[in-house]
Amino acid sequence: MNVTDQNIAELIESYLEGRMSLEQKTKFEKAIAQNEIWKNNLEQEILVQKSIRSYGQYLIKNKIKQDISSGKAYRYKRWKYFLGGVAVVLVTSVGVYYSGVFKKTIKKEKSKLARVKDERPNVESTNHTPSQKVNTSEETSYHTNKAVNPIIKEDVEGRRDVINDTLMNNEKSIEDEAISTEVPVSTLSPKSNIDKEVSVKDKVNDKNCDDVFISFETSESKSCIDKKEGNIIVYQLKGGESPYTKTLYQNGQKTESFYDLSPGQYLIKVVDANQCEKKKEVTIIGKPCIEERKFLFNRQFQSELDIQLDSKNGVFILKNERMEKVYEKEFDGFDEGITFDGQGFNGDLPSGVYYLSVQYDDQTEEKGYLTIQ
């Protein structure tokens, strides 16, 4: 493994991702220690990767914050209480219902008994044996308090079991709500700024789509007017069955991709494996983009170049074609610009095109090119 300017970026990635053998790692570390630029590259890569991971952490934190403020984080518990409440109401209702039935039954049986009692002289007057009389009373006693209770109790408990099962299932479905997501898209993607749902028409094929609720989120970036710089990201696809097909249309015409889009209205169509579909209209907003600033410094005709800047504090930077910083000058609001004399960090800057960047302290910036002849 030879460390060169050409493969350094790739090797740094392998090194940081732990894809190097011990021998490769030692060799790489030795090479890095001897080259200041490579060492800086490595430090920069570590900083960038660390920032990306911190950003992921920031998105997670924001998601939790949203879940807490929307009450979703407490919903699991509330659902438990709610379902518990429902269960109590149901059990009580069942109890009340059966106690009503029970009372009615007792009343009925009492009147039946009274009737039997009233009729007894007639019965006795007939030639029934005593055993037959006992049978009659046994038949009646089946419906008395002691005998009825276990049946009702068993019945109520039976219902209670059903209720408990329902509770458990409901709880499970709440818990697993997010698990049903078919596509492993993070919920951490930036939220869409404008998306208008225009149609939720489901197409019926083999499967009835009436009960299929496909949903997805979108995120759109702006584009400079007259340029194709907009992007649309579809994420958090849920419902239906994977695989999904995503298609984008503009004015009824299918676009080539979801990237490099001009400002305007677009229609996203997502179709699942059963041909159930969901459409959503989104807008790529057009923004006026500041023209890149271009300067020419011709050594033959000028010794200095006045570059006008906004009356704010900031820093003016020039980078060469390898994006290495070759010039930097801080300025304040009173300067209203800088005077460039063609000198970089290491003396006269060679002829060529330089990338220009002006960063103001209020976080706004300007970009452009400076050509030295």
Partner: protein, 186 residues
């Protein structure tokens, strides 16, 4: 629940499952503990958010040791932070609980400061939504390039690799060109 469970869930876009468990098992305890000790519900929620987000970041780092009991760990982080805060601030009541030193200080250091959050917002706003999502998917969620291509509508993994390189370069320029960002994000 272990840190490995968190890693797998995030890689499968199912972090909601893990968060749901933590909302149910840790958040009520954290609120109860802090309220009982003179703090507000909001304090408990803030500490909970910070602890869970830091545990997520820790869990996704392959070089870090495994956490066997994430729920217990998160609760200890909340408790430790409250004890530290209570010592500094008279608004909070002191607690008789002991500070638990078993919680790895490396995780506590991962808790995002407001300043760092501000710097991250600036840097990632500048690289745009596409780059932010792509870099997040690759470096935080650790999804494979071909999966990212499928999810983001790129033609193949190669395109994702090229785009990710551009995005990372853009981010590097933004961070290194701004001393404030470099210092805060270091």
């Amino acid at each position: 629940m272990t840190s490995e469970d968190i890693k797998i869930s995030v890689q499968n876009g199912r972090e909601d499952k893990i968060l749901g468990k933590l909302y149910r098992r840790v958040l009520p305890k954290a609120v109860r503990y802090i309220s009982k000790n003179g703090g507000r519900k909001e304090d408990a929620e803030d500490y909970f958010q910070d602890a869970v987000a830091a545990i997520f970041e820790y869990s996704l780092d392959a070089s870090k040791a495994k956490i066997e009991n994430v729920e217990g760990f998160a609760m200890t982080m909340v408790r430790n932070r409250w004890i530290n805060q209570a010592k500094k601030n008279t608004r909070f009541a002191y607690t008789n609980d002991d500070f638990d030193p078993s919680v790895n200080e490396n995780i506590t250091e991962l808790i995002l400061t407001e300043e760092k959050e501000g710097a991250l917002k600036i840097a990632f706003q500048k690289i745009g939504d596409t780059c932010s999502t792509l870099l997040n998917m690759y470096y935080f969620q650790q999804l494979k390039m071909d999966k990212i291509a499928e999810l983001m509508g790129f033609s193949n993994a190669k395109t994702v690799k090229a785009k990710s390189y551009q995005c990372k370069k853009k981010l590097a320029e933004i961070i290194t060109d701004n001393k404030y960002l470099t210092d805060v994000l270091k």
